[in-house]
Symmetry: C2
Subunit: 96 residues, 2 copies
């Protein structure tokens, strides 16, 4: 299933900047960065719960926020993109 | 239907900062800001096409990006939030 992870991390403090780096780094292990704070992750439920618990342990819930959107399995038809494309689609073959 | 609008606007130039303000301002007219660059918009198809064309005309496709996620009508069950909550749910009654 595809889970969209979006986050806002308050970077007004050095600690906030560090939280942001950690959150982004963790998300890279699970999916594709499609925008600065938007990741598309193809996960089973166990992987999702693990990712969620890791991210929740990294943020400061008073000033940061995480959102998880469950897009299901037929996610491709649900997404439209315009403009600069950051990510590569991990489900498509890499042609060299 | 619920459409999630996420965007990255390159703000390295004054023009970029202006584009960012415009995009955010337009999205506010159509939905709820749930994170800095994430809006949840309850729209019919005509409204979506109008919003999309307006936003596309505002960004610089070389350096900015827009993503639209169609979450359908049963969107509430698909979203999980952790941490600081920015938006109010426009579909729920406002209690004074």
């Amino acid at each position: 299933m595809m889970v969209l992870v979006t986050y806002d991390v308050n970077t007004e403090t050095p600690a906030g900047k560090s939280r942001l780096r950690k959150v982004a780094k963790e998300c890279v292990n699970y999916g594709t960065r499609v925008q600065n704070s938007v990741f598309e992750c193809v996960l089973d439920n166990a992987q999702f719960l693990l990712l969620k618990s890791k991210l929740c342990s990294m943020i400061d819930e008073e000033v940061d926020s995480l959102r998880f959107y469950h897009l299901g399995n037929s996610h491709k038809a649900k997404v439209e993109h315009v403009g600069l494309c950051k990510g590569i689609n991990v489900e498509e073959p890499l042609l060299f």
